[in-house]
């Protein structure tokens, strides 16, 4: 599907009356009709309120294909809410979110939750947890096995996958979650603070693994992180959010070569991106 087609679909998927209104107001129409080549996810006019609090109002965002975007922002500004709405597990009051013109339901999505204990299926062995999402892909048994083989090879980990999740360490459980999210070859991967419940050693290990696999797979990824070092190290772009009502405070690209490692974090580019992000973040936090 060419970008133009998707743009058309974007208009038709929205409320027709609303789209008509926008057509009258010139630049709104433009906003609905155009997005840059290489865009994968388009968000237009997203509005979300909880009771009296307006979290998002008329929020627009374009996210690039095949890149890792790290979302960083003040506590409670709506990072989780944003990726939950994009991934289709939370309703929103108004707006359009499309993946290349498709809805979330029509898109293969992987999601890694922070709380691996409550996201895995404890009644299934680790390997069956990983295999589970394949049943929605209409693959033959042989194709499924091939997928699993390939995934296990690219992760190259030594966990006994015949165990039940609760028999594994926290890090191993989260690794299983990551593999479960990636086994379907997702078009988009969401990670909501995937490492924040793990100890430091495990976090470093998983971060490296994730980065290696993402570099190999080139999957559009959205990572929410509370750790700025992590956010920058994994990102092609850091997306900074304001306090609520939430908008985009800044987008800072980071294109250091991959694979990145501890040495990356002492390069001037890394420090520059991190410093600028921190400045913007602090400015946002201090705002009354």
């Amino acid at each position: 599907m060419s970008p133009d087609d998707s743009a058309l679909r974007l208009v038709s998927a929205g409320n027709p009356a609303e789209a008509g209104d926008h057509a009258d107001t010139g630049d709104h129409a433009e906003r609905f009709r155009w997005f840059a080549p290489g865009t994968h996810i388009t968000i237009r006019g997203l509005t979300k309120t909880f009771g009296d609090t307006v979290l998002y109002e008329d929020f627009d965002l374009d996210l690039p294909r095949g890149k890792v975007v790290s979302i960083f922002g003040p506590n409670g500004c709506g990072k989780s809410t944003l990726i939950n709405m994009i991934s289709g597990i939370m309703d929103y009051d108004a707006g359009t979110i499309l993946f290349d013109g498709k809805t979330a339901r029509e898109t293969k999505i992987g999601y890694v939750f922070q709380n691996y204990r409550e996201a895995g299926f404890p009644w299934l062995r680790a390997i069956d947890n990983i295999r589970y999402p394949l049943k929605f892909l209409r693959l033959t048994k042989a194709e499924q096995d091939a997928r699993i083989e390939k995934l296990l090879a690219s992760f190259n980990v030594s966990i006994d996958l015949n165990r039940y999740p609760y028999e594994l360490s926290g890090g191993q459980q989260q690794l299983v979650s990551i593999m479960r999210a990636l086994v379907i070859d997702p078009e988009v991967l969401f990670l909501d603070e995937p490492f924040s419940a793990l100890d430091y050693e495990m976090t470093l290990f998983l971060r490296d693994k994730l980065q290696a696999v993402l570099t190999e797979m080139q999957v559009t990824s959205l990572l929410v992180s509370h750790d700025l070092d992590e956010a920058v190290e994994l990102a092609d772009e850091v997306l900074l959010l304001t306090r609520k009502p939430t908008s985009v405070a800044a987008r800072i690209p980071f294109d250091a070569p991959r694979p990145r490692n501890a040495e990356t974090t002492v390069t001037p580019e890394f420090i520059d991106v991190k410093t600028r992000s921190l400045e913007i973040f602090q400015r946002e936090v201090r705002k009354p």
Binding site: S87, I109, Y132, Y166
Partner: protein
């Protein structure tokens, strides 16, 4: 001497669980020995045990025991087959649940024994009435617990399945039902106990020719106290064993429970 005993105590750890029971039997034997209670009303433990063994081997206690088991299990099976699917259905639709919540709570609070006459009217005085009333009591408990388990299943796993592309029916079947299983098992365990209670009472009062309930009430009427105690003991052992069985099943099928 005491020191010696203390050294050996850990080795006799297996003894601990039966200490209470031994103490009870000892008190019983003592009360019987000094005739604090009329021995006709309270025979010795030995006499009662002899009545139990004799009843189980040569007498009809074994038969009554079996009848009660069959009735309880039939009632329980009927209750499970009806209540588990209904509980899942009710639990997965909060609107549906809310519309019958009052009914469930009301009948759950109604003593099943108060329903005996009603069931007699509909099912006559045969087996069916006893099984039906016990199934009714057990089903309410199972229904309530299953619905409750489904309703209170944690959101996150369902969301995880949803994001993978699972349909609502799939989520219910692959995630929610599993997630509710620990609570369902609590319902099954309470349900089978309830079925036993009702069956025994029904055997006492709804024209029965056999079963532990009938046996207990008969023994009481002719003051055959050893046999009465033996029958009570049999009923207790039955309840205990059924509970044990369900605990075992539970640890096997809900192996992740509490982890």
């Amino acid at each position: 001497m005491i020191q010696k005993l203390r050294d050996r105590l850990p080795a006799m750890g297996w003894l601990q669980p039966v200490l209470g029971a031994l103490a009870l039997v000892a008190v019983w034997a003592f009360v019987n020995l000094v005739e604090m209670v009329d021995p006709v009303l309270l025979p010795s433990p030995k006499q009662s045990w002899a009545a139990f063994v004799e009843g189980m081997t040569e007498g009809t206690l074994g038969h009554d025991f079996l009848r009660t088991i069959i009735r309880t299990m039939s009632a329980f099976a009927v209750a499970t087959v009806i209540a588990v699917p209904m509980g899942v259905a009710l639990g997965s639709s909060s609107r549906l649940y809310r519309s019958v919540e009052f009914l469930i709570d009301f009948f759950r609070s109604t003593p099943a024994s108060a329903m005996f006459p009603l069931f007699l009217v509909f099912f006559g005085i045969g087996e069916e009435a006893k099984i039906a009333v016990a199934a009714f009591g057990a089903a309410l408990i199972i229904l309530f617990n299953t619905a409750y388990g489904v309703m209170n299943a944690r959101q996150l796993r369902q969301l995880a399945a949803q994001v993978m592309g699972a349909s609502r029916a799939r989520i219910l079947w692959d995630v929610t039902v599993w997630e509710s299983l620990p609570q369902t098992f609590i319902g099954l365990r309470s349900g089978v106990s309830m079925a036993l209670v009702i069956v025994i009472v029904a055997e006492m009062f709804i024209g029965s020719t056999d079963g532990l309930g009938k046996r207990i009430i008969d023994a009481q009427m002719i003051f055959n106290m050893p046999d009465m105690y033996a029958s009570i003991f049999a009923a207790g052992a039955l309840g205990y064993l059924m509970n044990l069985l369900f605990t075992l099943l539970e640890t096997r099928f809900v192996h992740w429970g509490g982890k």
